[in-house]
Symmetry: D2
Subunit: 353 residues, 4 copies
């Protein structure tokens, strides 16, 4: 089988590097191009990238010439699909050019997430939103489309909540996060700011999580997403953990849910990616642990290669008269590059690409 030729836009940053790692031996996709800022363009990848991830940079990409993030340049390389790890501002300009030119974009940038005709996709949560891309193409006259990733914190939260939403309904939601430093990007957080410290605020994070959640859990109806209507309130904190966002969740359900029922629902939860056996689909999207003191980021963030969310401490909550639990997910895998790859797999398998 010929693999789809893909490019990674913004390939030198932290998320870009994770795209490289996840895609370089992918059975369906083949990295044929890497793009970065004009400063790096023209040099080989090995020379411009400081490889942050443990393990070596994959040999296959080390000597690839980094290109400008330009449709024509990349098309010459035969690129059929792009994964975008671009900064939001640049994404806003550049991504539509690719989509318009018939090259679908799977984007980790926040630029287009809230556009009406652009899905924020977590394949296990709202695979049907994929259809929105049809509308998007039609409405905009594009030959390709943009699919976005949710914010990393929202990704973990939404995946953990999906079986509860399906089986019990969600009425109210409170979430307090403890987010890893890698979520701020490699140079995002001075060591002196976060060492021996917590920063109880992440710019725009709470707003993003709140609105993206309602969109992802919205129902697609006649080409429009009707946002979910539960009430949601978040408080986001940065803590000194390398990778892995931990989230404490309080949820009031529509129908009474016992802790054991929720546990079971999470444990048996599978969705379309599992049924289709997509290459990056974790066999268990939600791993439930019974130990009192789990999940823990260092021990659990790499579950199923970082694609699963690990949940523990599921118990009843007397205030919301609902359920409370702790969820953990790898912010750079399920919260970024890994989720985007899974979305691409779904789109490909469903013949959108």
């Amino acid at each position: 089988m010929d693999r789809i030729k893909v490019a990674i836009l913004g390939a030198t940053g932290l998320v870009g590097q994770h795209f490289v790692k996840l895609l370089h031996k992918h059975p369906w996709f083949e990295i044929v191009a890497l793009s970065s800022s004009p400063l790096s363009a023209g040099k080989i990848y090995r020379k411009v990238v400081k490889w942050y991830i443990s393990g070596e940079m994959p040999e296959e990409v080390a000597d690839i010439e980094v290109l400008r993030t330009d449709v024509d340049v990349l098309r010459k390389e035969g690129v059929e699909l792009v994964f975008s790890a671009l900064p939001s501002k640049i994404a806003r300009e550049v991504e539509p050019r690719f989509a318009s030119a018939g090259i679908p974009v799977i984007s980790d940038a926040s630029a287009f997430r809230m556009e009406q005709d652009v899905p924020i996709l977590i394949p296990e949560v709202n695979y049907d939103h994929l259809k929105l891309t049809k509308l998007q193409m039609r409405r905009r006259g594009w030959r390709g489309f943009i699919i976005t990733n949710p914010n990393c914190t929202a990704a973990v939260l939404a995946l953990s909540l999906k079986p509860i939403f399906d089986e019990f309904g969600i009425k109210e939601l409170i979430m307090v996060s403890m987010q890893a430093i890698s979520g701020a990007g490699y140079k995002g957080l001075p060591s002196m700011a976060i060492f021996d410290n917590i920063i109880p605020y992440i710019p725009e994070e709470e707003e993003k999580v709140e609105r993206e959640m309602l969109k992802m859990f919205g129902r697609l109806h006649e080409g429009v997403i009707r946002r979910a209507e539960f009430r949601i309130s978040c408080s986001c904190n940065r803590v000194l953990v390398y990778n892995g966002h931990t989230e404490v969740v309080f949820v009031k359900t529509d129908r009474k849910a016992h802790a054991d029922d929720v546990k079971k629902a999470m444990r048996r939860f599978k969705s379309l990616p599992q049924n289709l056996n997509l290459p990056s689909a974790p066999s268990r999207p939600i791993v439930v642990r019974d130990e009192m003191d789990r999940p823990q980021p260092r021990l659990d963030r790499n579950e199923y290669g970082g694609m699963s969310v690990v949940v523990g401490r599921i118990r009843e909550d007397p205030v919301l008269e609902g359920i409370k639990y702790v969820a953990l997910g790898h912010n750079l895998i399920r919260g970024a590059a890994g989720n985007a790859v899974l979305s691409a797999e779904l789109a490909y398998r469903m013949s959108y690409i």
Copy 2:
């Protein structure tokens, strides 16, 4: 003025050392004895203690002989009041002996907190509960009494909530904590357990906070504390911060409270210790910060010597239709030794001692 002669029970541990630090130049109290386990008894303090606190061990106590935790032994030293940093199990046995013998005990141990006739005291929050000691002495036939400190997390939470409770009433309360490693004691937490990690569980912590809050906010009526009746739900986490517990609080009030009103109420909050000008009373028990990214443990935990709680991010909460905010306090000062010293000052000033 002759100072009250005090002993510190369990003087070698982390809280014991903070008692030493806070009391060694106290205007009203004079350390005349230090007790510890039989293993250390008979040796001088300097030799048995590994001084954990920055700055040197105070000269005045360095050469004091450590004594057994025994009423007769300590009475020989003229001890009139004891501060207890004993482990709970030992506190349960030993503290009544002192109280019975007419030596009041201000205890950081949890042993007697939930006894009906024992107050859990935060002088700014429930100074009137001090009266419970009268009942205690009468009922038990003791010549002294026991006053307890709340759990450290509850101390920070209760103090930050006091003006809200007074002005708006509390109906529902959700709290997620991020607690410092020093809360587990010097050897409580292996570095390999907490490094690059969060532990989303602290044994018995949530239960303690929940029940102690209701007792502290209870009303003393005919010698009985009628517990407060708001609903409360906590989720407690250990994070890699040296000192200072950070708490994210969601509160539904009885009467509608706007964020600005709460801010003002907190800012103008003063209580009996401030009015009496007690030596350890912070002039502002609650310090409100306007910056989006405060409080932060490293920057704010030593506010007023660690006796103030620092609050930030006060905003309205759409789920509980109340208020959410972040509070921070020094777990070893306001959450332990400092609060106990303030309680002793109050008791002394009110002629209970």
Copy 3:
């Protein structure tokens, strides 16, 4: 091929768990038994072990019953070889029983390292010391033998120095280490001791490194190891790094060595394990990096599965008129379990087992 049946003694600790991880799919060895303290004996492994290593406990061992560390008990399981991660005190009693009964012991304990007829083996460094086991068996009338691992810091140091020793000779050696917390065992180091801190002392470490180095680089002559005679001086520090010991080395050589020559010697270095293609032998035992700021523990400790030592900053030293460099190795792999497995592979391949 039938695999050799092996047991891991002290299988529940940090090094024991690494033995499990490295051996559970080994081509030559088969784990048939796990032993631990009497407290754990009789229970299944999954129940008594708190799995510290990232990734799940291997399925194959999870339900094995943990046995007492007893020759007869383990022999019933058909054990032919044991890997020991026992505490030194227990090792001193127990290991000889196995060796005497014809079950060779590959030990990470320090108990027998300095016995004249017991080799401290790093297969790439002093494979010929393996012969000492013959003498050991004869002298002690044992049917098996004991091979020991060096101290973890010495392992990294010795491997990095081997090509220098061979090509230029060593006259003087100064080494300053910055050692990971995992070297102290899971509960060895309270978080409050090492957080925001360095501990410039590790009990007995410097002495161990100094004497073990001289023994490992000693020459085997008529059944006796004549210790190497270079002068050596160490200063060992504990720092807040999870895994990986970093060592700054200053070495005066017998023959003048230029930095470039040393670099080349290290780069081309291969030894018997590489020639024999032993399963755990890294193809490059020493990885030399040219970047100014490498090696770094987080980026380099897992090189070749943690079996390589990574060296950087090789430059000339004006004081010793020799060479200085920085070496890094994984203290639990090359410094413990991995090196022991490699020793067992060598012994097996050379028909000692």
Copy 4:
């Protein structure tokens, strides 16, 4: 007494803030102006500075208007002396203007350290180099002068070595440092770079330490410093410690020195600042600890307000046939702002200012 009117140049950075903290209640100096980059000029200090130091920003300076770093502007404020925390590049341009205009500069920048007629001053180590300023003024035709601080690592090293140098002479010196993150400036080190890591390289640090040491220990002879002639070799590492540089030192002395003699020499060491009772002079410039596991940065860095160097593990070294020990000092106090203030005190007391 009228206090000398001083300005702090570069007052918003980490060292600048420490100058503010140390000077705002100084008995001899009075802060009358703060300067910063043009971006901040014209705004009040409170608004442009993110106060990094624990404890509040001193009230006295909070509302001072930040000025441009300009001689005329500052002279209008009556400035008679400046402390410079400017980046080196700017210092090179700006500091001479002040010196030339008759306003002495005490500088923490490296710009002029190696100029022949500029002293690198540690008042306890080489107070006589102060005289160099006379030559400087004459040669350059300036009405003021520049005195520089050494590099922070060199400051700790030189102070710890001074009594050895004086009593035994120094022939060879090897130093391995473990340096705090604050040494890189507030934003100097991304948390992702240093967390769970060591960086075994600090740009230009080793060269600076090596050459500054020889200059500081040089002898002033007929207006020229003849550099000391011992051989020196350093290896500098960045570790995850907030404040405090730890240095492992190996020194070969001219005359045989026993560990005990060195200990005594260090303990009794006092110098001119102590004899003159300068306000910032620690009564013991070197604090020697006998415990095996000291000094430790978290416990010892604030000794005498961070002005003392703490030394431990003094023992004989078989390689250099000299002495080895561990020294620790606060890089921002003795290694920067504190040392500069002490230099200014000395210069003032000796009537250079």
